[in-house]
Symmetry: C2
Subunit: 363 residues, 2 copies
């Protein structure tokens, strides 16, 4: 999508034909800084430090990380070492592993001298496929927004979202935000309630920045406020992303998603989850019991980063000194709270049977 009138993807091959460009998402929305990745370690650290985040973008960055590793050394050992290094960066993200497996499959039977070009080709394909996947999610989600717009007879459609499942989290378009961008571009009067999404504030920082850059009306709220808005009829539907989707339709998404799904249920607000097929884990039936939840560092909670008076990106400590902190990064929303899954092959109720109709080859 566009930044100051210039079209960007969230990851791209540089003009030199080998190094990889990304946007440093840790300093958004305060500064727009692009970073050049030149080595496997650059890519791994970009994932670990969340300069790139969002399941699809993590996958794309891992794919290019393997390209950069092979550029240094094309051996089987180095390919395997690169896959292992990248696999350890973010344990919860299922399509990090999907992207690594795709790359490994494309490369393990390729002669070492052909591996570099094959890797770049496969990584570019992963990116292009992601863009097309998200476009398809947008098309199917747009139908749902159109239904709500029709019910409101042209009145404003208010959509609540959590965290950032926009183009910054993917290669382009986004998952949860793709239908919203399309609805806006289609002339539907959409307005987005943006959960700030503590502890990392991806909503207030990234989603608000994205939507603002594209001209979509939106309002930032604290994570505590969504239930109140739903009680008072100010939310017509929720659309969120997911980092990992159980075949049963349980979804692991950013911590706090479950609370919004409970409020949506309590107030008869439809709760939609947008996802690329790569986030579906067909081996999992009970998301709550089987999806491991990443526990991240305490400093994400004790410290908040933002623009200081002088315009620099600075951070302040907010918690009482000496207090213990816990930081589970995701929670699992049970399928019973999800109205529909919006996939790149269409929308369906959240169940193995319904997903199997859309993805018969996987089921």
């Amino acid at each position: 999508m566009k930044v100051d009138g210039t079209a960007y993807r969230s990851i791209w091959l540089s003009d030199d034909g080998w190094s990889v460009g990304i946007i440093d998402q840790t300093v958004l929305p305060h500064r727009f800084v692009t970073v050049r990745l030149e080595t496997l370690e650059d890519a791994a650290v970009a994932i670990e430090t969340m300069q790139v985040r969002g399941a699809p973008l993590i996958g794309a960055t891992a794919a290019y990380g393997i390209c950069l590793a092979l550029r240094a050394e094309t051996t089987d050992e180095n390919l395997e070492k690169a896959c292992e290094r990248l696999a350890g960066t973010r344990p919860t993200a299922v399509n990090l592993h999907w992207a690594i497996d795709e790359m490994r499959r494309a490369l393990e039977n390729t002669a070492p001298e052909d591996r570099v070009s094959a890797a770049y080709e496969r990584a570019a394909l992963i990116c292009d496929e992601d863009v097309e996947t998200n476009r398809q999610i947008g098309v199917h989600g747009l139908e749902i927004i159109k239904e709500h717009a029709a019910r409101k007879k042209g009145g404003r459609v208010n959509i609540l979202t959590h965290c950032n499942a926009g183009w910054l989290a993917t290669v382009d378009w986004g998952t949860a935000l793709a239908p919203i961008y399309m609805a806006h571009d289609d002339g539907i009067d959409v307005h987005v309630w943006v959960d700030e999404t503590r502890p990392r504030n991806q909503g207030a920082a990234l989603t608000a920045w994205e939507l603002g850059s594209h001209g979509v009306p939106h309002t930032v709220i604290v994570d505590n406020a969504g239930g109140h808005l739903m009680q008072h009829g100010k939310v017509d539907l929720c659309i969120v992303g997911t980092d990992r989707t159980a075949a049963s339709g349980d979804v692991a998404n950013k911590i706090g998603t479950y609370l919004k799904a409970l409020a949506a249920k309590d107030n008869n607000v439809p709760f939609y989850v947008a996802l690329p097929h790569s986030t579906i884990d067909w081996s999992i039936d009970d998301g709550l019991r089987e999806i491991p939840i990443e526990e991240r560092g305490p400093e994400e909670i004790t410290t908040v980063s933002g623009r200081s008076g002088e315009g620099a990106v600075d951070s302040v400590s907010i918690t009482a000194p000496g207090s213990a902190v816990a930081n589970p990064a995701f929670d699992v929303t049970p399928a019973r709270l999800v109205t529909k899954l919006i996939t790149d092959r269409g929308s369906c109720p959240p169940s193995r049977e319904d997903l199997a109709v859309l993805f018969p080859e996987k089921a």
Copy 2:
């Protein structure tokens, strides 16, 4: 309770016998600063800027504000002007109005020359009564914690709380935290999950600081995390405060309380609300429709204050520049989600009938 070994209340008469001391709660937990109130305006501004906050402490501060106003001028007109000025500081807090009415009743039939001493006497009584009220809440809430401790056979009792309903929010003891302090002092192994409570972070700043100062084990979490903890059996009960309690048992408390109550219901975790009788509004049956919700300024969301690297209290801007912001300060938790109300006269199910048994003279 104690601060560095010294017993404090949250508001006190200074040694000079007329000016009023408070703790500036806007700079806690970073600095411990006391402030001297000398005029009505000092008191009104302390309430407005939330140097003092929490329903009972707001009431006590308003009572002393009237003392300070009368000290300047003892006329009927000035008494009425003072009451009006104070009543406008925080519209949602019902016992701000209760305290003002108590003072007005005690003073309107008092001769002007006796008003100052009568006002100070009545304000001191309001403070002492609040301390006793909270002690009673503590005694009744302790019974509930003891039941949970017995069920866990001496294992740790994990209690989730939201915002700050501790001694800093009252004159001493606190409402939601009074039972916890008593349980801890009684040798029960309690541990408190402290919601940070955006936007003003009263949990991470004040509740964590209070509990830490008293030696109660606790862990700070983001507001998004409580549901996840309940799904995994890590919360035995919730205790929160309330700013306004409908006679039906609906409770208006800090924004986000409703989301935790939903999660508690979904996971069979008992959800208790601790309250002094002064927060009960006997005229209200439908909290959701009838309790007006204060909308506060956007800067509470866009800006976060904390300790900078240099140790000063500083603030940073966290939201995307140009994004709109909405800031409802409270939400209403319907009685159907509340297990029991813990009042200064005992605990009861959340209903007009049950409250009437405890408060027959009011019902």
